[in-house]
């Protein structure tokens, strides 16, 4: 299995280095000659100089159906065509696509590209959570259908001194673990929340805001 990195600069360089250090077989395709030369000096990967949005360049990488390709150029339209050439012509199953305009996540999904990553959306999501609540960590799984939130209970939280069953958390939200004095407790309905408790909450994105509000009293 190969991992093909199409386009991109620093992200491509660092990703290639990381993947190679983990033993992956990496191919870099880039239309910038100077960048290709630099990559060829710095990393042990096959470097192809050319425009990855052209089928003949992609064919040079001899991509197979079970290979992984990442479209990392700074232009959404280039990433779209790279992804479509890989999916529709080369029948590659694992295609990951970077977009700049967050609105293009949905657009690309509708055009049949499932794995779309918007750096803008990810960063703004992180910032919003930091600013608006005491969330210390957040992780999504199952392509964003589920979330794990980490929240530390404070003195002034409505949840302080309340039993889990009395919190009134919405459907689709559950406190999976409490870390108290560095000890992990798997809670039940009678568990009483105390200041300093670090909660690991599993929930659906649709009830994230409500869940955080019930526990912390803040949006």
């Amino acid at each position: 299995m190969k991992i093909i990195l199409a386009g991109g600069r620093r992200i491509t360089y660092n990703l290639a280095k990381l993947l190679i250090s983990k033993g992956s077989n990496v191919i870099v395709i880039n239309k910038d000659k100077a960048f290709c030369d630099e990559m060829a000096r710095e990393i042990k990967a096959l470097i192809i100089h050319g425009d990855a949005s052209k089928i003949e360049i992609l064919q040079r990488a001899e991509i197979f159906e079970n290979d992984i390709i990442l479209a990392l150029t700074p232009q959404d339209e280039d990433n779209l065509i790279i992804s479509q050439l890989c999916k529709r012509v080369l029948k590659v199953m694992n295609v990951y696509t970077l977009v700049n305009d967050p609105e293009n996540v949905e657009v690309f999904n509708r055009l049949g590209i499932e794995n779309v990553i918007s750096m803008t959306e990810m960063l703004s999501g992180l910032i919003e959570q930091r600013v608006s609540s005491k969330l210390t960590n957040i992780m999504s799984f199952e392509k964003g259908k589920g979330l794990v939130l980490q929240l530390t209970v404070e003195e002034d939280f409505p949840a302080n001194g309340v039993m889990l069953k009395d919190l009134g958390l919405p459907k689709g939200s559950i406190v999976g673990a409490i870390t108290r004095n560095e000890e992990l407790i798997v809670p039940h309905g009678e568990s009483l929340l105390k200041p300093g408790d670090r909660l690991a909450i599993m929930c659906k994105p649709s009830v994230q805001t409500e869940t955080v509000k019930i526990i912390s009293g803040k949006d």
């Binding site: 280039d78 779209l80 305009d101 055009l111």
Partner: protein, 142 residues
């Protein structure tokens, strides 16, 4: 095409081709909107053009929404970038179900990809080639 006298047509890319076609269509009585990311390009539009122009990057869905792409009978993807034309075409066809989409493409290798999404293509290279062929025949025929 069903006989509809006045079509709502969006022309993406107001270069020499886009501006000329937009003028012609406007002159024939169709409602035409041109989208281009550079305001200067609207200077290419002729006097006979009576439609609207929108400054915007067509790869941002926002610009296409401003042009009311959901109402369009026809979208012409005429920028000088094949990849942008492909994106605009696919968005028109598959997100907004635009009945008719025509794209200008430079690289004939991309034709199958456009055909797959049922977009009609104009390939200047092939047009020039067949034109030359005809000219050539004429010259030696003399």
């Amino acid at each position: 095409m069903a006989k509809k006298t006045n079509l709502y047509i969006i022309v993406v890319g107001c270069g020499r081709l886009g501006s000329k076609i937009a003028g012609n269509l406007s002159n024939k009585g169709h409602s035409v909107v041109v989208v281009d990311k550079h305001e200067d390009s609207f200077e290419h539009l002729s006097q006979e053009f009576t439609g609207f122009s929108i400054v915007g990057n067509a790869t941002e869905i926002e610009s296409l929404k401003k042009a009311k792409i959901d109402k369009a009978d026809m979208v012409l993807a005429f920028t000088n970038n094949d990849n942008i034309n492909y994106m605009v075409s696919q968005v028109a066809k598959e997100v907004y179900n635009t009945p008719h989409v025509v794209a200008r493409i430079y690289n004939p290798d991309n034709v199958p990809l456009f055909k797959q999404i049922n977009v009609k293509v104009i390939i200047p290279m092939l047009l020039a080639e067949s034109d030359f062929q005809r000219t050539f025949e004429e010259i030696i025929g003399e």
